[in-house]
């Protein structure tokens, strides 16, 4: 960890003046217009706002999958853009878990094998990865589905598998893109409860992009975005009062 990171050890995520534009026939279209944002270790931070406000773009920049045009962005004190491609991949592999809107479970692998993938990537043996995957599957209530194909599970169950995959290697940051948007209210709440509980147990920081007002209560803080900027950061209670 760098000296600056050591100085702010409680900060898992720090973005300062992050900008990003996309090219179009009419010229560059700014999507992020100077994002200032941070998250503490173990915090659950929601990114909310209308469609097209830049939430997912910001999440992609945070995950190190998209280069920013300007500003600074460090995760666990490290700027992924300062790393070469291999080092950045190693950093993501060790420190970041992903939960996607569309689950993105590999259909030709079993549930347990899907959950094992981050462990295998981090050098665990097939047997050890399988053992740990089964333990995490038990914690999300899917111990009996370990050998099933993901396609045989319901949407809620698939997202729970995706959560197990995101958390199985105890990453220090978990990025989630609309994790409940494909689920009904009950399953959405269950998924968020699990996600928050497991993240807390592992000490992981959660950054969640969502449109779903019903799950705001699971956040520690909510960053509201509009037109490429963070316009307000509040607690769930403050956000609810503001919505009223």
């Amino acid at each position: 960890m760098s000296a600056s990171a050591a100085a702010s050890s409680a900060t898992a995520l720090r973005c300062v003046g992050v900008t990003r534009s996309f090219a179009s026939s009419a010229g560059p279209v700014p999507v992020l217009r100077g994002i200032d944002l941070d998250a503490r270790e173990g915090e659950v931070l929601f990114l909310v706002g209308p469609s097209g406000c830049g939430k997912t773009t910001l999440l992609t920049v945070i995950a190190g999958l998209l280069r920013r045009d300007g500003g600074e962005c460090s995760v666990l004190g490290e700027d992924q853009e300062a790393m070469d491609k291999g080092q950045a991949a190693d950093f993501r592999r060790a420190n970041i878990g992903f939960v996607f809107q569309a689950y993105n479970l590999i259909p030709t692998l079993s549930v347990a094998e899907n959950v094992s993938v981050p462990l295998l990537l981090n050098g665990r043996s097939w047997a050890a990865a399988r053992r740990d995957a089964e333990a995490v599957l038990a914690s999300v209530g899917l111990a009996d589905k370990a050998d099933e194909s993901p396609s045989r599970l319901s949407g809620g169950q698939q997202q729970r598998v995706a959560i197990a995959r995101a958390i199985v290697h105890a990453p220090r940051l978990i990025v989630c893109d609309e994790p409940t948007s494909a689920l009904d209210h009950k399953n959405g709440e269950e998924v968020m409860r699990l996600l928050r509980q497991l993240a807390r147990e592992k000490g992981s920081t959660l950054v969640v992009v969502t449109h779903d007002h019903r799950i705001y209560d699971y956040a520690d803080r909510i960053a509201e975005m509009d037109d490429g900027r963070v316009v307000r950061i509040s607690t769930p209670a403050e956000a609810a009062r503001h919505d009223q």
Binding site: T60, A89, F100, I106, V117, L120, L121, D177
Partner: protein, 384 residues
Amino acid sequence: MLRVSWKMLVGDTAKYLGILFSLAFTTLLITQQGATLLGILSSTTSFIDSIGGVDLWVVDARVQNVDDIKALTDTQVYRVRSVPGVAWAVPLYKGSIKARLPDGTSQNCQLIGLDDATLIGGPASMLSGRLADLRNADAVLIDEDAARDKLARRDANGQQQAAGVGATFELNDHRATVVGVYRGQRNFQSQPVVYTTYNRAKTILPNERKLLSYILVRLQPGADVVSVQTLIRQSTGLRAYTGEEFSSSSLAYFIQNTGVIMNVGLSAVMAFVIGGGIAGMTFYDFMLDNQRYFAVLRAMGTRDATMVGMVTLQAAGVTLIGFGLGIGAGAALLRFVLANSEISLTLTWPLLAAVGSIVVLVGVVAGTMGLLRVLRTDPAVVFK
């Protein structure tokens, strides 16, 4: 991760089997076409190649290939024998004749007439009887395929009886008695090849002034081949080929003057293009289907080198298995065809290596295209 990669491939059973089938079918087709081509080519010169111990083949100067026979007079043998450097020279007849079988049917055959004294040029592998038995009255040798099929006779019950030693038939109204059955290379025409002595061949054939097809020459020890070839040409006006030259010129003539290379080659190319194309496209389609999951793996921190290893394993795996299945099926097919027909097919290690190279090329192209697709995929697509 290699195990994950392999499970990703075989887990999609339909595509996996599709790729395997395409590659196996490509291998089978190219192998079959290649074996057919080699069989045809080798059969065109099998007569030359089967006669060992001969340094030169002397023929009319206008002869362009082994089947382009321009008959010589018997006195040419003596003239060749008189050329310095020639140890011995013997006559050899080769021509067509119709055999009449005891059941009344007839069969076109090749008749080979060997030098009566030495029997040089006779078959090397006798299955029954002896080459020397050709000196018996009316004696002929026949090949095993002919004995089993084309020169076989039907008994009173209509059952086909193989022609063995003692069997008889007629050659141009002359009695021919089988004194031996030999194993020889199949010829291009798939006709029975009947051996007898040169002088008996002359009595069997219609009376003609010239019947001699080739003069087989052995050089004296230390004699220079090129010099003797030149001397033969100068003193007799005939052309003397080494066996290799005669074989090559016959092959070249055949290749240049028939469409067989073009036809069989075109079939092999089409097999490659169609089978390889289907296999390549199916593999590429598999890559496209899994592009998102490869992107997920890259987002999760899979290094490019690991991705290369994963895709290489998939491409190499299906290529090797497909090739193995295709070669296995090809070998079984060839074995069946050779055992049950007189089609000339030749499967050689160089052919297997060539087919393997072609199939590997298909795998490399498909794998590289898929890999480029995977490596060019922006991992950020996982959030789209």
